[in-house]
Subunit: 74 residues, 6 copies
C-alpha cells in the first residue's frame, strides 16, 4: 500500500480524533482491499446502531494511541 | 467537520466523563453523518440492554484517554 | 446531570472496583436516561450469561482507569 | 458487599492471573447478585465457545490491571 | 491449578506472543476446566471467522501485558 | 512455529501499522493453523461489515502495543 501514515503527531485533539478515524478505516481497508465491496457494505453498517457503536469503539481505541503519541496535547 | 474538540482538559472527573460521552457520540457521527438516520436508530439501541452495555464500553475506553490527559485529576 | 463524580480516589481497591461499577452504570444512564426503561431491561440482561460477561468487561475497563488514578493502591 | 479485595498485590504472576479471574467473576456478581440465577446460567456459557472467549477477554483486561499493580513481577 | 506461570519475561517478542496465547487459553481453561468439553467446542470456533477474530483479540490484549512486562524487548 | 517476529521496532508508523496487522493475523493462525480452512473463511468475513469492524479493532489493539514499543515514533 502506498504511503499514508508518516506520523502520529497532530496539531489539535480534533485532528488526532480524525486520524484515529483514518486508522480505523485503514484497518478495514487492509482486511478488505476492494473499494467496490466496501462501498456495498456501507449502507448496511451505517444504518445499524450496533455496528455504529462498534465502529465508535475502534475509533476510541485508536484515539488512545494517537492521544498518547501527542502527550495528550498538554 | 467544524471545530468541536480543542482540548482534553476538564475541570472535574465528571466533566471528563461527559467529554468521553461526547467523543463516543462523535465516533458514531463521523461514521454516520446523517442526523436523520441517527435519530431513527436511537429508539432501538436505547432500549436494547446489550447495545447500552456496548455504548457504556465505548464511553469507558474514551474515559481512559480523558482521565490520562488530566493526570486523573490528582 | 447533577454532581455524582468528584474524584477517582478511593480508600481501598474494593471501593475502587465499586466506583468502576458506578461508572459503568452511568455510561448506561447517560445513554438511556429513563429509569423506567432501564428497569424494564434489567430482568433480561441480568439473566443472560453473555450480557453479564459484557457488563463485567465494562467494569474491568473502568477499573483500569480507577486503579491507575489510585496508583494501584500501592 | 463484604470485604473481598484488600490489595492488588500478589506473590506471583499466576496468583495475579487468578486474582484477575476473581475480579471478572465479581463484575458478574455485582451485576447479578443471585447465586441461584448465576448457577443456572453456568451450564450454558461454559459450553459456548464464544462465551468462553469473551470470558477470557475480561480476564485479560483485569490481568492488565493486576500486572501493572505488581510492576509486572519484575 | 498446578504451577504454570512463573514469569512474564520472555527472550523474544515471538515467545512473548506465544505466552499471550497461553494466557488466553488459560482464561478459557479456568472458566471451563473440562478438557473433554473444550475439545468438543474446538471444531466449531476454529472454523468460525468471527470466533477466530475474537480469539485473536484476546491474544492481542494479553500481548499488551506481556510486551509491557518485557519493556517491549527494547 | 518458525521464526516470524524478531522485534517490535519499525522505521515508520505505517510499517508499525502493518506489523499490527501481521500480529492480528498470527493470532488467527495460531488458533486455526490450517491455511486451507482459513482461506475458506475469508470470503465470508471479508464481506461482512461487522467482521471487518472487529478485525480493525484487533489491529487497533495490536497497534497500541507496536506504537508504545516505538515510543510513538517521536
Amino acid at each position: 500500500m502506498k504511503n499514508w501514515l508518516n506520523s502520529l503527531k497532530t496539531s489539535t485533539p480534533q485532528e488526532g480524533f480524525e486520524l484515529a478515524i483514518k486508522l480505523s478505516q485503514k484497518g478495514v481497508e487492509y482486511t478488505q482491499p476492494s473499494e467496490e465491496i466496501r462501498k456495498k457494505l456501507r449502507p448496511k453498517y451505517s444504518r445499524d446502531a450496533e455496528d455504529l457503536i462498534f465502529a465508535s469503539q475502534v475509533i476510541a481505541i485508536n484515539f488512545q494511541t494517537v492521544a498518547a503519541a501527542n502527550n495528550y496535547w498538554k
